[in-house]
């Protein structure tokens, strides 16, 4: 009955291959809709003056220690275990633009898809938050995040994973995220997700010569609840945003894993088949322990 065994193994690898190469459904069908109460932020790089008031406000609102790399009082160079929000500089010749970085609050986040026990979850208002009691610190979230947002406390014996949670603790008190509250130019604004998207599109329509013709986050990586506008001559890549297609980040792995493990049927069938083949071999007096 060599044929049986061969067929079994062939069938298994064929199933794995089939699951793996299932053609992707249209991007629209893969996309997860925003929750009805979704909120977010809109950052307009053309309005930002780089004053970093938002960086200070974020530190205060989230009780984050300051960073000191030089003799300056607070000079974070990137997002880190102590910095959830940062203003970066893009410069090419005399052309300058600012760039605000924090969690994008994806509609279908890579970190949530990665996280083994659901430390990362999209909770109220679609805000992506982290809960320590479920986290083993494996850092798969950081591998999976296309924006490199989740940060690990590398210098602590008992580390946390740190990232912007859209000031969900302030929202609960009826306030808005600290960075949006203090911005003197309203370069970053808070609001409901559909309203922000409409506002971004309104600005694009009103000043098509001023803006790069795209709202970053409307479709990128399946969509994000934090949206970006940038100047016409400074495309989003130059601000450090990755080039992603419209497929949500965890879509492929979900297709593959669900294809192979749907209802846990394939593993159980394989197990029984393996046992049956071995029982048969033993009866024939083959290699048993």
């Amino acid at each position: 009955m060599a044929v049986d065994r061969r067929a079994l193994l062939k069938g298994l690898s064929a199933a794995a291959a089939a699951a793996a190469v299932t053609p992707p459904a249209s991007a629209a069908a893969q996309r997860k809709p925003a929750p009805p109460d979704a909120v977010g932020m809109l950052y307009d790089a053309t309005l930002c003056i780089g004053c970093k008031t938002c960086v200070v406000a974020c530190r205060k609102a989230n009780n984050l220690e300051y960073e000191a790399h030089s003799t300056l009082w607070d000079d974070p160079v990137d997002l880190s275990g102590r910095t959830k929000n940062i203003i970066k500089l893009y410069r090419e010749g005399s052309r300058v633009s600012y760039m605000k970085q924090q969690c994008m609050h994806c509609l279908d986040p890579g970190c949530v898809g990665a996280c083994m026990m659901g430390s990362f979850q999209k909770r109220e208002h679609g805000i992506v938050t982290w809960k320590g009691d479920r986290c083993i610190g494996c850092r798969y979230c950081a591998v999976a995040c296309p924006y490199n947002i989740p940060k690990f406390e590398w210098d602590k014996a008992f580390p946390l994973v740190v990232k912007c949670e859209l000031c969900s603790h302030r929202l609960a008190e009826g306030k808005i995220p600290a960075c949006c509250e203090v911005c003197p130019r309203h370069a970053v604004i808070y609001g409901s997700y559909p309203e922000l998207l409409a506002e971004a599109k309104r600005r694009l329509a009103e000043q098509p010569d001023h803006y790069y013709p795209k709202v970053f986050g409307e479709h990128d990586g399946g969509g994000t609840q934090v949206l970006y506008l940038t100047a016409r001559d400074v495309p989003f890549e130059k601000l450090g945003l990755p080039t992603l297609d419209e497929e949500p980040v965890p879509h492929l792995v979900r297709t593959v894993q669900h294809g192979i493990y749907k209802g846990f049927i394939a593993p159980v069938v394989l197990y029984v088949a393996l046992g049956a083949v071995m029982l048969r071999n033993r009866k024939k007096g083959g290699g048993h322990e």
Partner: protein, 394 residues
């Protein structure tokens, strides 16, 4: 002489063993430092490269090197090739050690290790689309299964040992285990099939970070095929080395006849790899990706060379060349894994990673410990097949 497994005997603490103890000791100190100071001061890890050699080498390569038990069990129990049976015990032992120490590496690597115990129990929290969850649960279960597969070795010895608790335990447990063993071994075949392929799926999420020559929906299939081939490679190395070191019977003829299967697996890997790239129009990247082109071509050469060498019956029946073939197979699969998890992984501009010295010392310590336990167990327990080569040597 008989093929029955017997203990090798001889003294445990040889000069070589002392060196291993030293390397292990240094590793323990470094690991201790990590638990006091955190991961940052001890490793070169960063938020861009959150996984380093502890994951890419100790876990991803390490468990694949631990696939000897899996590969041999497929052959002996599924394809019913009983003649290979003498290879099973030492293979399962290297697997048990490889997997147990990968588990140790994980505990050292994860930041919040005190929560690990929740993984198998907090089933209501499980994220079933996380490939890493599948890996974690399967590896935990497989470590237990491997030691259960190994347990007859200990029970055999204790059964005939001096009267006492161990002997009573061995005598009462043995019959139960005998009956359950078949289903335990079946589990030992199912679990690696699942988690070795899932180790490939893990990197599917790193869409925009993993180079397109390595990012493919077929990652799970490629990881599975290559780990089975690696299993045979490891068995060749382990068997040749231990027959030399412990003056046992040379098992080359048996190992040589395994060559055909291994060659087939290696060719299958290369074909899947190339057809997949061609099918998705990425073959051009093979020559236009700079350093990564180089690594890709090395990977391909490492898979193809032993595949071709194994086709020649005379080459594979010589102990020396078979050993080199085994080495190449193991290198091929290891390089593929290492490149997928580290070298072809690019989190964006401004990030770099090269392992820090203490980080490497921990890895060396783990490997040294693995070899130490192997030596102790084969010298004291019936693992290697009996026949001793020549006389008087030990």
């Amino acid at each position: 002489m008989s093929d029955r497994a017997v203990p090798v005997g001889g003294p445990i603490v040889t000069p070589a063993f002392r060196w291993l103890m030293l390397v292990f000791g240094v590793g323990v100190v470094m690991a201790g430092w990590r638990f006091i100071a955190g991961l940052g001061p001890v490793t070169a890890l960063s938020d861009g490269y959150p996984w380093g050699i502890w994951i890419a080498f100790d876990v991803v390569v390490g468990t694949a090197l631990g696939c000897g038990g899996y590969s041999m069990a497929i052959l002996v129990y599924i394809f019913n090739k009983g003649k290979y049976h003498p290879l099973v015990r030492p293979a399962v032992l290297t697997s048990a050690l490889g997997y147990s120490l990968a588990a140790v590496a994980i505990v050292i690597d994860v930041g919040r290790y005190w929560n690990i115990w929740k993984l198998p129990f907090a089933w209501r929290w499980w994220n079933l689309s996380s490939a890493l969850l599948e890996v974690a649960l399967c590896v935990m279960a497989y470590v237990i299964v491997l030691w259960l597969e190994m347990s007859p070795v200990f029970l055999e010895k204790w059964k005939d040992g001096p009267p006492g608790l161990l002997r009573n335990l061995a005598r009462s447990v043995s019959p139960i285990l005998d009956r359950a063993l078949l289903w335990i071994i079946a589990l030992g075949l199912l679990l690696p099939t699942m988690h070795q392929s899932s180790l490939g799926s893990v990197m599917l999420l790193a869409h925009n970070k993993l180079h397109p020559l390595w990012h493919t929906p077929l990652l799970p299939l490629l990881f599975l095929v290559s780990c089975i081939a690696m299993g045979y490679g490891v068995v060749v190395l382990e068997s040749t080395l231990s027959s030399r070191a412990f003056k046992r019977k040379d098992e080359t003829p048996m190992l040589a006849s395994l060559g055909g299967v291994t060659s087939g697996l290696l060719f299958a890997y290369v074909i899947i790899r190339l057809v997949d790239l061609a099918g998705r129009g990425r073959l051009g990247l093979v020559f236009t990706s700079g350093w990564l082109s180089f690594w890709f071509l090395v990977e391909l050469a490492l898979f193809l060379t032993p595949a071709v060498m194994l086709l020649n019956a005379r080459t594979r029946s010589r102990t020396g060349s078979l050993f080199r073939i085994g080495m190449l197979v193991v290198l091929a699969g290891s390089l593929y894994r290492f490149v997928t998890y580290l070298i072809a992984f690019n989190p964006g501009p401004g990030w770099s990673y090269f392992p820090a010295v203490p980080e490497m010392l921990v890895t060396f310590g783990i490997v040294a410990f693995e070899i130490m336990v192997y030596i102790i167990l084969v010298k004291r327990f019936p693992i290697l097949a009996g026949a001793r080569q020549g006389a008087g040597a030990h």
